[in-house]
Structures are given as C-alpha cells and as structure tokens.
C-alpha cells in the first residue's frame, strides 16, 4: 500500500509531469485557453496514458525482453501509443463531436505528447510491475490534468486583463507557468 501512496503523491504533485519534468508542454500551452477544452484534453490524455502504461508493460515483458529486443523499445512503444490515440479519436468522434471539434489538431497530436511516451519509458526504467505501472500512468495523467486545469483557470482570468502588447499570448503564458512552477516546487519536501 505504501508504494501506491508514494506513487500517488509523487506523480501527482512532487514530480508533476508538466511542472517538474517538462513533459507535455505543447498541449499544456496549446489547449489551455479555455477550461472546458482543457478538461476534455486532460480526460483524453488520462485515458491514453493509463492504457499506454498497461499495454507497454505487457509488450515490454512478453515481447521485448524474451526476444532480447530491448533496443526496439522506442519504436514498439510509440506504435502502441499511436494505435491507442487512433482508438480514442474514433470513439470521441462518435460520442462527443463537439469535444472532438474543440480539441481539433491536438487530438492526433496526443501521439506526439511526450507525457505519454515519457510515462512508458519511466515505468520501464523504474522497474514497476503491471499494477504499479498502470497506477503510475493514471496518477501522472491526473497530475498533468491538474496542472492544465489550474493553468486554464488562470489564463481565462488573464485574457480579461489588459496586458502589454508584447507580452500577450505565449510570453505571458510562459511567465505565468513559471510562477506556477515555483508554487509546485513547494511540494518538493513531501517525499
């Protein structure tokens, strides 16, 4: 039980993927203008990351290791992720066309979201078992969603404020993210 608590706190807050590891910055900056799209993106990424952690563990344990193919790790993992994203895309298109529209180009780009491949590689490096891997994927994705939702709230307010022209858009967003990262550093001593 202790391990799971450590994984939960660690992946959610202390080693937050966005705020501590710089993984998944593209969607973090790209789809965080509105709370609703950020929430939708967070949910899609949560599903993909959890499923990817599960499937990549199986692929690694039963395919790559027995056949001595560990050097094929990157290729195998990215293919698994691409397939999963394709499934999510088809499901969303049927179930929630409005969200599908709102996410736009960022949906297929989940494939190239470093957070997804990152969590798969981290799981392998840490030597987690199947359950721990899946749980870690889920927690890391929750951490990603948390950071993105907080950031979206700030940006919604920020868009109403009058900013100097040269700071509008990305530069302002980056400096806001920097301040948020300082806040997240406060969790540093928890583990």
């Amino acid at each position: 039980m202790n391990t799971y608590m450590t994984i939960l706190i660690g992946s959610l807050l202390v080693n937050n993927f966005v705020m501590n590891k710089f993984l998944g910055i593209c969607p973090f900056l790209g789809v965080s203008k509105k709370f609703d799209t950020a929430l939708g993106m967070g949910m899609a990424v949560t599903f993909v990351m959890t499923a990817a952690s599960f499937v990549t563990w199986i692929v690694n344990e039963f395919l790559l290791l027995p056949f001595d193919l560990a050097y094929m790790q990157t290729i195998a993992y990215i293919l698994v992720i691409a397939v999963l994203v394709q499934i999510v895309e088809m499901a969303l298109k049927k179930l929630s066309p409005s969200l599908y529209q709102a996410l736009g180009v960022y949906l297929p780009l989940i494939t190239t979201n470093c957070a997804v491949l990152g969590v798969a590689i981290l799981n392998t490096d840490e030597g987690y078992n199947l359950l721990e891997s899946t749980f870690n994927g889920f927690c890391a994705a929750l951490g990603f969603t948390l950071a993105m939702l907080l950031f979206a709230c700030i940006r919604e307010k920020l868009s109403l404020a009058k900013m100097p022209k040269w700071m509008d858009g990305f530069p302002g967003a980056l400096i806001t993210a920097g301040l948020m990262a300082i806040a997240f550093q406060g969790f540093g001593g928890l583990i």
Binding site: M19, N20, K21, F22, L23, G24, I25, C26, L29, Y71, M72, Q73, T74, I75, I78, L79, A82, P108, L109, T111, T112, N113, C114, V116, L117, G118, I121, L122, D125, W166, M167, F170, P171, G172, A173, L174, I175, A177, G178, L179, A181, I182, F184, Q185
Partner: protein
Amino acid sequence: MAKNKKPTFLSVFLNGLIFENPTFALMLGMCPTLAITIAGSNGLGMGLATTAVLVCSNLLISILRNVIPDKVRIPAFIVVIASFVTMIDLLLKAYIPALSASLGMYIPLIVVNCIIFARAESFAFKNPPVLSIADGLGMGLGFTFAITLLSCIRELIGAGKLFGVEVIRLVLEAGTNWINATFNLELVAPVYQPMAIMTQVPGGFVTLGILLILVNAISNAAKKKAAAKEVQA
C-alpha cells in the same frame, strides 16, 4: 520575402534558420527546449542530435513520398522517425556516454518532438529530397541555436558557468587582480552567488518567456521599418 520566387536550397535553409525559427516563431518542440537547457553542452548536444534525426527523416520521407499512401502516412512517419532516434540513441550511448547520461530519457523522447513530425508532414511529404535536406538542416540548426542560447543564459545565471567553465568567477578574479595591480590595492574578488532557480523548472519557463518578448519586440520593429520603407517608396 522570397515567397513568389522558386524555393532554392539557400532560401529554404534560411527560412528554417531565421524567418520560421521552430522555437521562436513556430513554438514547436517545447519539451526538450525547456527540460534539458540547464547547461550549454546539453543544449548543443540535444540540438545536434535533433538536427541529425530531422535531416535523415526528412530525406527518407521525401524519397518515399510517392510510395507512402496518404492514409497511413502518420504511422509511416512515426516508424521512420523512431528508427533514426533509436540509431542516434545507441550511437550516443556508445561514443558520448557522458552526454547520453545527462540527457537521459529525453533522447528517446526526440521521437515525439513536434518539430520533426511537423516538418515531415508539412514539408518533406510535399517536396523533393534536396529541398527537404535544406529544410531539415535549417530547422535543425535554428532549433540548435535557440536551445543553445537558452541553455547558455540559464547556465550563466544559474550556475555562473558557460559550457562547464566558471566564467563569472574567472572574470571577477581577473578584474580584481587587474585593479589591484594598477592601483596597488589589496581587494578580495567578490563572490558570485548563483541564482539556482534559473537552472530549475521555473527559470526555464521565465527565461523562454523573456526571450520571446525580446524576439517579438525585434521582429515588430523590423516589420515597422519595412512598412515605413514601403510607404516612402
């Protein structure tokens, strides 16, 4: 700009290096840009590794562009890119283990660097091989330039070093020695207290934000100048 003219090797190269710089203008590949830019050597190594992958994948995709069906192009790109990244990963592990260790998991993550993907989709898949190499070189070196600059700023302020050399301490000591020698004084060199936060996460975000503000200011000024010239003419 040279938009109406036929693209040449040089114009495509310069376009990637300056006008559409992947970091400052297109905002692509943010994760490595922020994550590994804590030391100049890291930035340079990452930039060159990415450039190598980008040139190779652009070339191969451009050669295969008439063979790959439109519908499965994305998986095809991914496999091509992932193969080259694996090669670079293994080469770095074998020949530059120190760099490989300090970049860690960010080397396999080159696969998901949006720059490479975006150039395959928007350039290499539509253009002949020679131009694609130019695009890869330009974009790659533009990226290298941007992240090396960012790393140097962060390393200088955050650790007082530049490519591992303690530049600030050496400059301060040399300066003090010079003053002591010319004015016959016995001053002690001031000690530089590094701002550790610059090499940590918040420093990455804030430094890139400030750099972008500068780039915006410069490009706006350049645009205004060009507009003023047109009015005059």
